[in-house]
């Protein structure tokens, strides 16, 4: 059922856009139409990005019901702010993912402890289109640069940055997760960020 829906939608989207448009360009065009209050564009955008966004939200919020509620908030906000996207031109996914992550972090304030995941990500229903989308939303050059620079960090720095960024852990939670003093965790994070910046900006 999901496959039929997404295939139909993919066909519909491609009928509206140039054949060679990248996923990032598609998202940008759809955002432009959202700014014009085109509800259909929001629906198409939702079909393109919702799987990826829910993946991000689930990792941080752990519970599907909370993450789906957050996904609603994110899409409503994207709709309301589509006309402000101009400041982010060329970085559609950075913009939308930032909205999602900040919303998740805001919601984390209300749920103190790290809850167990509702469902293991590996067992989660994977949206094939969303998985493809991951590979096409950002330029491979940038992604490769991040991978290269990330791999140069120490294993501890990588682990801390991932727990913070992908799983939404606070520094306290990271310290407890990896059984390391908080001061050490803070220093790993600070140095990891500084090294990443140096490497990516060089």
């Amino acid at each position: 059922m999901a496959d039929v829906q997404s295939n139909t939608l993919a066909a519909h989207v491609s009928s509206l856009l140039p054949q060679d448009a990248t996923q990032a360009e598609r998202i940008e065009l759809l955002l432009g139409r959202c700014a014009q209050r085109d509800e259909r564009a929001l629906q198409e955008l939702y079909q393109l990005v919702s799987g990826q966004l829910l993946g991000i939200l689930m990792r941080i919020l752990r519970r599907r019901a909370v993450a789906e509620e957050a996904l609603q908030d994110v899409m409503v906000k994207v709709w309301e702010r589509a006309d402000q996207y101009v400041a982010y031109r060329g970085r559609a996914m950075a913009w939308i993912s930032a909205i999602a992550r900040y919303r998740a972090i805001d919601l984390l304030r209300r749920q103190q402890a790290v809850a167990p995941l509702d469902e293991a990500p590996a067992e989660a229903l994977v949206d094939i289109e969303a998985a493809d989308f991951v590979d096409t939303t950002t330029s491979s050059r940038l992604r490769k640069a991040l991978n290269d620079c990330f791999s140069r960090l120490t294993a501890e720095q990588r682990r801390c940055l991932e727990l913070a960024y992908v799983d939404g852990y606070s520094q306290d939670q990271i310290a407890s997760e990896i059984a390391t003093p908080l001061g050490t965790v803070k220093s790993w994070i600070r140095r990891g960020l500084a090294s990443l910046k140096r490497c990516l900006d060089s």
């Binding site: 509800e39 689930m58 609603q72 994110v74 702010r81 402000q84 970085r91 229903l125 994070i189």
Partner: protein, 231 residues
Amino acid sequence: MNYQRPQLLDELAAQYVLGTLRGPARRRFERYCKHNATALHAVRRWEDRLVDLVTTAVPVAPSALVWDRIKFRIRRDRALRPKRTLAALGNWRVALAAGVAAIAIAVGVWTGFGPRSMQPVATVWDQQMKEMWSIEAPRDRSALRVLAGDDLGLDPARAYELWAMPGEGAAPVSLGLMPQAGRGTMQLNDAQRLALSRSRQLAISLEPWGGSPTGAPTGRVLYVADVAAPG
């Protein structure tokens, strides 16, 4: 926290984007970014640097109800208010749930302000960059709405009086007394509006209970804030 040091600002931006800046410090930095292009730029640079890390999150298909709820919410919002009301609030980064928007509209009507017309006038910070008050006004600036920050630690036996500073040798003009908690409204007369329109800065002085007895500041000036250009 001293946001003036570029390196510290960049570290805060990094920790903000990473998500490890939490609690009041996070909210304070968020508010600071609203008024500071350098901070906002630093945040965007970090968003760019880190965005691809989220690709390690496995995509998850949402249940069908989610889209229905989104559709319902945007249609309800459109029916509730004119186009782009929320964008006009300019409150970047605040994921404003529709329910909150509805409450804001109700409060706005009740106090005589439509949220659509409210614009920031100034934000008052203390020396540690703690946000003390945010001041907004309708487009015609016929009144000011002032929202006090949390736990300001003010002296309840004294008054904190807001002054327009028209400059060029003109005397400060009192606009009203700042609320020590919660929110307050100052209705402005023509003279006050004129003084405000000519002011590039506002000042807050420490006064006896009830405000300055002379019509001019009598105590020391505690805070000075820049006035935003009318939108």
